[in-house]
Symmetry: D2
Subunit: 341 residues, 4 copies
C-alpha cells in the first residue's frame, strides 16, 4: 500500500530523530526554558528577518489556533475566516469553546478576498445595531489554504492593509507553511510573509516534526501573558526542549524549506500524471495537496492500491478526492500511483 492520505502519517524527518536520540539523556529545565528552545527561537527570528517580536512553541494546530485567537481577541470580538477555514470546519468547535465566534467570509478556493473583508467590516459598523453583533476582531487566513492554494504576496499585502485600516490583527495559520515556501508558485519569502501579518505559525507536525508548531509574533506586545494562556489551553509541553530541538533542526541548513520543496515537486509530478491521463482537476493547487474529481468506480479501484481521502461525502457518480505528499513521500510511490491511473 502506498499512502497519500495526509502529510502526518510518518514519524519525523530522520535528522530530527537523530537529534532527539543524541540528546535523549540530557537533563534540561521544563516548559521551554532550555537552551535548545532558546536557540530555535533565535534561528526562527533570523529566518523571518525579525529584530523584535517573539516565538512560542506549541504542540498541535487546533490548539495553536485556539490559543492564539484567544490571545488576540477581546471577549466581545470574533474572528473573520473563510467559510472553508480550518477553524470554522475542522476544529470541533475549539474556537467557540473559548468563547469566540467565527465570522465567515466567502471562500474562493480557500482564500478570502481583501475587498470582501473590507466590505464586511464597513457594513458591520454601518449597521445601527452593531453593538448587538459580534465585532470582527481579527482576520484568520491559512497559507497554503485548506485547498492547497496560495495567497500571492500582493494579496497578503492587501489583506494586511485592510486589517491595518480596521486596526485588527492578521493571523496566518501556517500548518503547512513549508509546502508554501517550497512551492515554485510562491512569490514571497518567509521574511516577506512575516511583514504581512501580526502573528503566524510555522507548522511542524505536517512538515517533518513529530509534532510542534512555532507561533511567531512579529512585534513585541502582541501576545501579552501568553505563557499562562498556553498552559490554560492545555498547550504547554512539559518537556519543552522536544519542540526546541525539532525546530532547531528544521531551521538549520534550510531543512524546513527543503522538506517543502521535496513534497511539492512530487505533488506537481503527481498532478501532471493525473492531468496527462485525462483526469479532472478539482482545484489547481500549487502545493502538496492535490484535488481531483474521480469517477466513483475509478476511485474505488485506486483505493485498493493507494491510500487517499474523499474530500467531503461520496457523490452519486463522481467524488472529489485529495492526495497529499509530504517530506516522507518517495518518488517511486508517485510513479507507482501514476502507473495505476
Amino acid at each position: 500500500m502506498i499512502h497519500f492520505d495526509t502529510d502526518y502519517m510518518a514519524g519525523a524527518h530522520p535528522q530530527i530523530m537523530e537529534r532527539l536520540l543524541a540528546t535523549n539523556l540530557e537533563m534540561t529545565a521544563g516548559y521551554g526554558s532550555d537552551d535548545y528552545t532558546r536557540h530555535a527561537k533565535t534561528l526562527i527570528m533570523e529566518a523571518c528577518g525579525l529584530t523584535q517580536g517573539e516565538v512560542h512553541f506549541l504542540v498541535g494546530g487546533t490548539q495553536t489556533n485556539a490559543t492564539v485567537i484567544d490571545g488576540l481577541l477581546a471577549r466581545h470580538q470574533g474572528v473573520l475566516a473563510a467559510e472553508s477555514g480550518h477553524i470554522n470546519v475542522h476544529e470541533s468547535g475549539a474556537i467557540e469553546a473559548s468563547g469566540h465566534k467565527v465570522l465567515t467570509l466567502p471562500s474562493h478556493e480557500g482564500k478570502v478576498c481583501a475587498e470582501e473583508v473590507e466590505r464586511y467590516i464597513a457594513q458591520f459598523y454601518a449597521d445601527d445595531t452593531y453593538l448587538h453583533m459580534v465585532a470582527p476582531g481579527m482576520l484568520y487566513i491559512s497559507q497554503p489554504t485548506e485547498y492547497g492554494t496560495l495567497y500571492t504576496l500582493e494579496e497578503l499585502k492587501s489583506l494586511h492593509e485592510v486589517c491595518r485600516r480596521a486596526d485588527i490583527p492578521l493571523y496566518i495559520d501556517g500548518a503547512r507553511l513549508g509546502y508554501a515556501l517550497g512551492s515554485p508558485a510562491a512569490d514571497f519569502t518567509l521574511g516577506e510573509l512575516a511583514q504581512c501579518c501580526e502573528v503566524f505559525y510555522i507548522g511542524g507536525t505536517k512538515v517533518g516534526a513529530l509534532f510542534g508548531e512555532a507561533v511567531v509574533a512579529t512585534r513585541n506586545g502582541l501576545l501579552p501573558h501568553f505563557f499562562p494562556l498556553v498552559k490554560q489551553h492545555g498547550a504547554l509541553l512539559a518537556k519543552g526542549r522536544l519542540l526546541g530541538l525539532q525546530f532547531e533542526t528544521l531551521f538549520t541548513d534550510g531543512l524546513y524549506t527543503r522538506i517543502g520543496a521535496h513534497a511539492v515537486r512530487l505533488a506537481m509530478k503527481l498532478k501532471r500524471g493525473f492531468v496527462e491521463k485525462g483526469y479532472e482537476l478539482y482545484i489547481d493547487s500549487p502545493t502538496n495537496q492535490q484535488f481531483f474529481r474521480l469517477e466513483n468506480h475509478k476511485m474505488d479501484e485506486l483505493m485498493q492500491h493507494a491510500g487517499f481521502e474523499m474530500w467531503g461525502p461520496r457523490g452519486e457518480t463522481h467524488t472529489v478526492v485529495r492526495l497529499v505528499t509530504s517530506w516522507a513521500t518517495r518518488e517511486e510511490d508517485v510513479d507507482t500511483l501514476i502507473a495505476l491511473l
Copy 2:
C-alpha cells in the same frame, strides 16, 4: 412623533401594571418560589395543553436563548439555525460565549427548510472527518422569524420529524410568539406548536410585559438542573414573582393573544396603506413587523415624523426599513403614518 421602531418601546400593558401595583407591598419568597409564579406556570401549561413538562421564567430573550441552548447541548455540540437567526446575528456572541457554535442554514425569508436541515445532518455524518467537526445537537427556529414570517403547522411538523429522526431537540424562540398567535395567517394553536418541539419560549418583553420570557419544556427531563444553570447565566430574577404576576395576567382571559391580534391588525392596515400607495414590500410578513424598500429621500422625509429602523445599512438609492406595531400601538398613529405616505 409616532413610533414604529420596535415592540418594546412602551412599559407594560395596563392590566399588568395594575397587578404589579396591587401586589406591590406583599412579601413573597424569592427566585420564583411564590404562588403567583406557580399559578402562572399552571395557566401556561393549560394554555399549551400540556400534562407534563415544565415552565421557567427568565428575564430577557438573549439570556433565554443562551441558557436554554446551553441546557440542551452537550459540550461538543452546536446549534443549527438560519443564517439570519437572532442567535447568529444579534446576540453579541452570547451562544459562543457559553462555548457553542451556531451552525448556519440558508434563510428563506427567515425560515429554515426541513429538507435542508435533513441534508445538513446527513452530510455531516457522511463526512469521514465528522468527529473533527461540530455536531448538530439541536435545531433553533423562531416563530415568527426575524423577518416576521411564519412557519405553517405543516412546516413545523416536518422540522420536528426531521429532528426526531436525528434524535435532536427542536427549540422555538417565541420572542414575538403573541404576534404569531394573533395573526390571521397562523394555522396553528399554541397547543399544536407545543407538540411540534421539545422546548419553546413565550415572549413577554415584546408582547406586553415589562420584561420576561416563559420557557416551556414540553416533556419532563428535557432541562435537568435548570435552576442553577439559569442562575449561572445571570438569568435568575431575585423578585421572581414579578415574572409570575406578569405571565399570570397575560394568560388570564386570553390577554396574550388579544395583544397579538391588536398589533397584527394594525400591522396589516399599515401594510395595506403602504401597498395601496405603491410602495414596495421587501417581505410579505403576516405579523407585527413590516418591511418595505423605500427610496432614500422618502425614508428621510418619513423619519421626520415617525420613528422606524433601517434594516441593515443604508443603500445607495433605496433602503429597506422595518416598521413594528405592538400592544401599545394606537390606530390613530397608523392612520397618521398612512396619511404621510
Copy 3:
C-alpha cells in the same frame, strides 16, 4: 406572618411604582439610550462626586458581578475574594462559567484584610512557578459584606492602596450599599467610597427597586466595550428605561439613603430587642442583616410566626439565623417580633 427573610420580598418603593406608572405609555428607545437613563446616570455621577467615569445599569447582582469581573480581568487572571464572598459561594459558579477562578482569602466576619491581600500577592510572585498559577487580577469585596459588616474608610483606603501597588483594580459589590450608607456606623460617604475603588455597583434590587444595579466605573476606560459584554452576559434589558427611571427616583431627594437609614434603624431596634432578652449575637452587624445563634426549639417556635432564614445547616442544638430588614419593613413588625422573644 411577618417577614425578615430577605430584603427582596416586596415589590418596589411606592415612589418608584408611581414613576413607572406615570411613564408607562411613553415610547422610548431601548437598551438604555433614553433620557431617563441619561438623567439617572448624571444623578449618580453627581452623587458620587465623579467628573469622569461611567455608569451602566444591569438587572441583577450575580449577573453584574459576572459581567464586571469578566470585563476587568484578562483571560489568565482570577479574582481575589473573601472565602465567604458572594461570588465564591452563592452565584452558582457564574464567575467560573465565564472562565475565571475565584482566589480565596480568609474571611474576617466577611471582610478581607489588606495585609493578607498584600501577602497573597507577594507570595504569588515570589513563587517560582507562578506562571502556572492563576494570577490575582483584581480584588472583589462587598460593602456591606455577606455578614452585614462594614469596612471603615481607613480599611477601604488600605485595600485600595494595596491594589494600586499591585496595579490591579478594586471592585466593590454594593448589592446592599444603601444599608451601608444608611448605617450610623458608616464613616464614609458615597463619594469617598467611589474614590477607594476602580469600579463598584449600587444595588437596587435589595434597596427599593423592582430590580436593577448601577455599575459605576470611577475613571474613563476601565470597562472598554462594556455594552456588547453586558449583552453577551445576558444582562442587557430591552426596556432599559425601567432601570433609568428607578435609579432616577432613588437618586432624587436622597431616597436611596433614606431607604437604607429606615431599614438600619429597624435592624438596630431588632438587635437591641434580641440582646436585651438575652439572645446571643452571632455577629455584631451595623447594617440591615442581623445574625443570632438560637436554640433550636426557640428557632422553631419563632418560625411559626415570623419568616427568617437559617444561616447554613441546622445545628445539633443551636442554629445561626439571619433576620433582614428592608425599605419595606414596618416598625410594628419589629415590635411584634420582639414581643415574641
Copy 4:
C-alpha cells in the same frame, strides 16, 4: 551538575526511543486509529484487569485533567479537590477556563479524607440555598499526591464508597502513578486502583515517555463523545501512534512499574541519606518526590552542585525544598548528592 529538579528533565526511556526510531518511517492513519494505539489500549486494559471501559491517549497532564473533568461534569457542577491539588494550584486556571469551579477540601499532606468529603456533600445539600451554590459533581484526587504521599487501598475504597453514595464519579490523577506502583509502601495493584474509581489516568510524561497520558474509563459510557471533546480541548495528537507506541512499550514486560521502582528505590536512598545526616523531613513521602526543610545557607550551598526546587517561597531562615528522582536518575548522582550533605 546533578539534577533532582523534576521527573521530566530527560527525554524518554531508551526502549521507547528505540521503538519510535524503528517505526519512524511507517505510514499510519492519524488521531489514534492505528494498530499500535489499539494494541497499547489492549495492554492497558489487561494490566488493569478491565473487561469493559475504554482507554484514550492525550498529550499532557493539565490538558488531561481539563478534558476529563469537563467530560464528567455537567455545566452546573464543580469538582471537589484537595486545596493543594494540582488542578487547584498549578494549572493556570484551566479547569475554570472550561467553566468549572474547583471546590476545595482540606489537604492532609496532599490527601483528602473520606469523612470530610462526605460531610462537604451532606452540608451542601443540607443548605437551603444549595441551588445557588456549585454542586459537587465529582471528586478529584491524585495518586501519589502533590506531596508524594499515597492513599492506602482502604482509603481509596472509602473515598469511592462516599462517591458512590453521592452518585458522583471519582477521578484519579495518576501523573506519577508509576512512582506509586513502584513504591514498597503501595498496598494496591493497578487493578485494585481501577476498581476504586470511575476514571483515572496513567501518567507517561513523568514516567519514561516523551509525553503522553493514558486515560482509563473503568466502565462503558462514562466519557461519551470523548473524541470531539479531546479535540476541542486541543488535546488530540495528529500522529496519535506516537502515544500508542510509547504506552505499548511501557506496558510490555512491566517496564512501567520497573521505571517506578527504580526511581523510588533511589528516592528512599536519598531520603535515608538526608535523615541520617540530621536533616529535617518536611513530609515523609514513600514515592519519588522528597521534601526537606533546609537552612537557607545549606540550601544555597547545595544548589551550587545540584538542581532542585524550592517548594513555595523562600523562608526567612529555612526553606522547604523538593528533590525528585525519575527513571533517568542514576544511583551515582544520589551518592554524589548524599556526599555533599
